[in-house]
Subunit: 590 residues, 2 copies
């Protein structure tokens, strides 16, 4: 896959001459102590750079010299698995955010945007990351939609995926979430795996808790990684069979503490680091892969092991030739640290160029949608194909004695299915009873103008008045709305729709606040501060004005209520889904 | 490069079903203790195989079950760098020879046959290894001919090499012997490196003693391995900069003892094993990669480290997907050992099939030259394009006072340049003086019918009568002959020529013995016993009948007298070459 890093005759001649010292190097890190990942030790030398590459370690003079006395140099970091969409800003702004944290590459699975905009969404990610100085390798989402029942914006079947492998920046098939399908030889699942194998591509795994012979079956389909291990024993079993383990430590899902033993020999040779999903405030305030390394060291990990897992190991597994180490011929992707304990980043170099100093990124990338074709532009920036909804659309016209309620389990993405007697309350829509914290939840199909609206009830959210709507809803990202009355629900949904995506809070027919996520309803071209500040404001409104419970995140909680593969009761445009049987079940019945 | 291992839908479904246990596995190694190279430890489990692949480790039943109680299973071995031609039998017979030694793959550099037959020679190797059960990856010879001065059978310039990279079994550019050329930016050398880089191929190194900034320059041209280290310090410097080290232990060049520290952490993670050149008797009597592992363990190496270096590490570096380990999804290339101390091989499995039991190979490959096209066939099997030589062709017609003599340094491939006063001896050709052990040496051009014959003198060989000729002469493989008289020299050369290659010993106009190497003058389709027995016989004749000194190998010594890149004085069809200046110098002068 190294064709991405093609070179020319003149460049290599230049490198050779600067390596021998016949010509002065472009840039020399003088008196550098650096972490050598080939010998797992700290080495002292000058490091010479010609254009993008390290051309020598030893004694060198350079046109530009950076005195590294007292500092320690490490290779830049690689995120083995992540979804760019979770950062809620464009991939180009993500780069600006990640670079001061030492990131030089990510393996991204555009799962969310593919659910909204299919191939056009994947092309958006490819095009927006094409010319960046960080390297973005792409894995093709394997499970779009999550189940045949769901109504996503696109379907990525095996025939659609196969031709994408021609692109050399596409490294394979992303997390195969349908472990059941693979291990039970579901034809589409197997076809997707076979096509990836025959195209000489990798397959990432996603198999929490899979063990024994079922794990073998999953791996024999060429799945070679897993980032869902939550115990060392689980990770060990997978690693022992030949899988690479990705320790996932994101904003919400955080497995680092449980997997600290992977930082020890021999495991650290076959493990890497991944964030999976990071919100922008996490990256700004805590960090990206640097954050995982920092925390691992705090937990007692050998810093060199942690750094190797956050760089060379991912480069090796994903065939990122010339990345992941400070070595001759490697790209000059270097992080200058104050020390190996705090991992405080002094400055960062990408491809031989200084890109950040402290918190400050020195060069930013503006968004450039001119590279998109008309279709891509339309599907990404105008991703809402639906009519405005009306108050009456949320009315429940069936009557019954009982109501089926999604009961939130705080801190997780699971729900319980509960049943309550319906008590009609005056001034509240049928079935809503804020006294018992039972309110209405709905999902409005927004990709194909079907007019489908699934309506149900939810408990544990705490909302006392108004409505909250969001276009972030895994995996299909239809509009989800929770509210105490139909009118506010309709207005919140229409606000999100008319903003081309995002969040909206409405109370008594007044829009109290919104966040625009105009890129596929998932991201914005505004910067991270726009996102962080608005979410902060919206949370305050949700908690203080609407009464949402403080023990849940009002938006994250909604984001997983649509996902009909996680127990017990979920909601999609077709209605409430009993996850265990994959049946649509009524919200109201006798 | 895994396209070589393409699969089908039905096969993967079959694998999955046999992994889950829904169907019985084809083959199960029951009660197996095996070396797990992901955790560097010994694990106990049943190992289930479906067709060619390991589909599970755990508890399994199989159609065929092999009780492994008391045995230890390891992955089959990989030779990181070797020349098939040195085994002097066809590549298919090499396979038969290597398999009982646990070899499943070799990275072969067809350097010798390329010097004789160019692309046709490389195609011969490719075609003869295409359908084998061992995997033969090919690196394209980087230095054919060794110097512009030499007269080889072909020239592989960058333009000739570039299109070869389309072949997926060609993994890159073979040992770049012209380290001087690379580090001094010789255009052809750099072009060859650039083309390999841009084709996403690897470049192997060959840089004995290269150090410091010159080593950096060499590596910045993407050279990623070296198999010429003869001290740990040399290896360590290369490894620290990012090179993979191949510990070379062949028949003649043997670096293992000096490099034992590489079997320790952290070095063993970036080191592998290679034989470079093995004669058939070495493989038969001592072994192939198993021999290196065995000796390393005897020397004190951790067996698991040694096995990893002889399997997984090479697979990783050369991207031999699904090879090099016992793991789920890996090819069932398994060696059953009696124990981990003696590495005594009980039996071997390749791609799930038992291929050897003890010394016995269970299935042999016959040679099949029907796959060759007319040109390839002609250039490989009739590689001698020359007229018969005559006695007078070896006559020296210039007179002088002094003669320039190649003086053999026993046990090596170097010569010293010496000068002697010419003493004319009756009954001996001009310049020959067996009393002082000065005899005649000549190289007859045999590729282009140029009639070029280089004539000189050699000392230290010991021959008292007759002549010895050989078509093995690195790198151009012209016919080399040493003798005390012109008539026997001519007859020896003509015998080699008329045999289409090999060795011949003549004395007093009588052919005392020969060895036919009809494949490019380097190999034979006869088996290893033909080669071993005949060489033994010919050595006896050389030592006892002709008087060759016992401290040198009569044929190996001749094999390196043509190589004009190794000091001090060598001989090619153009005459004696002073290696330091690359000048042709006269054998006789005033």
């Amino acid at each position: 896959m190294a064709r991405i890093w093609t070179t020319t005759f003149d460049r290599v001649v230049d490198r050779v001459k600067k390596a021998t010292g016949e010509k002065k190097a472009d840039l020399v890190f003088k008196n550098a102590k650096y972490v050598n990942l080939f010998t797992d030790e700290i080495v002292e030398a000058d490091i010479a750079v010609c254009r993008k590459h390290i051309v020598g370690v030893g004694k060198y003079d350079g046109e530009v010299e950076v005195d590294c006395t007292g500092k320690i140099l490490v290779p830049s970091f690689i995120d083995g698995h992540m979804h760019l969409e979770s950062v809620m800003i464009s991939p180009r702004s993500f780069r600006d955010l990640a670079v001061p944290h030492g990131t030089c590459a990510v393996i991204a699975d555009p799962h969310e945007i593919a659910n909204v905009a299919g191939i056009d969404g994947i092309n958006y990610i490819l095009k927006m990351t094409e010319d960046l100085d960080i390297h973005v390798g792409i894995m093709i989402p394997s499970c779009v939609p999550s189940t045949p029942l769901d109504e996503s914006g696109a379907v990525l079947d095996s025939e659609t995926i196969k031709p994408l492998y021609e692109n050399e920046r596409i490294y394979g098939l992303a997390e195969m979430m349908n472990a059941y399908g693979v291990t039970h030889a579901d034809p589409e699942c197997i076809k997707k795996c076979v096509d990836a194998m025959n195209a000489d591509k990798l397959i990432d795994g996603h198999a929490p808790g899979l063990t024994g012979n079922m794990l073998n079956a999953y791996m024999t389909s060429a799945v070679s990684t897993d980032h869902e291990c939550s115990t060392f024993e689980e990770a060990r079993e997978k690693l022992e069979r030949g899988m690479w383990i990705e320790i996932r430590e994101g904003t919400v899902c955080r497995d680092l503490d449980a997997l600290m033993k992977l930082f020890e020999a021999p495991y650290y040779h076959r493990s890497m680091l991944a964030t999976d999903d990071s919100h922008p405030d996490t990256i700004v305030n805590i960090g990206h892969i640097d954050k995982i390394i920092r925390q691992a060291i705090k937990n007692g990990a050998d810093p060199i092991h942690a750094i190797k897992m956050g760089s060379l190991n991912a480069a090796k597994h994903y065939n990122l030739t010339h990345m992941g180490a400070i070595g001759v011929g490697y790209l000059a992707n270097i992080v200058i640290l104050d020390d190996l304990e705090t991992i405080k980043i002094n400055s960062c170099y990408l491809n031989g160029e200084k890109v950040s100093e402290g918190d400050q990124v020195l060069k930013k990338y503006t968004d450039d949608y001119n590279t998109l074709d008309k279709n891509e532009f339309k599907r990404v920036y105008y991703s809402f194909n639906m009519n405005n909804v009306k108050e009456t659309d949320f009315q429940i016209n069936v009557k019954g004695k009982q109501q089926r309620v999604m009961e939130i389990i705080p801190g997780g993405v699971l729900t319980k299915e509960a049943t309550f007697d319906i008590i009609e309350r005056s001034g509240m829509p049928y079935g809503v009873d804020t006294d018992r914290d039972i309110v209405k939840i709905a999902v409005v199909e927004r990709h194909h103008a079907t007019g489908h609206i699934g309506i149900g009830f939810i408990k544990g959210y705490g909302i006392k008045q108004g409505a909250i709507a969001s276009s972030i809803g895994h995996d299909s990202h239809n509009i989800i709305v929770v509210g105490t009355n139909n009118k506010d629900m309709a207005m919140a949904v229409n606000t999100v729709k008319n903003n081309n995506g995002g969040l909206a809070i409405v109370c008594d027919n007044v829009l109290l606040g919104d966040l625009k996520l105009e890129v596929a309803g998932l991201m914005t071209e505004n910067d991270e501060n726009y996102v962080i500040n608005n979410i902060e404001k919206l949370k305050d409104i949700a908690y203080f004005d609407l009464g949402v419970k403080r023990d849940i995140d009002p938006f994250m909680t909604l984001a997983f209520m649509q996902l009909p593969v996680i127990p017990e009761l979920k909601i999609i445009p077709k209605g409430l889904v009993k996850v265990s049987t994959q049946e649509v079940v009524p919200a109201v019945y006798d």
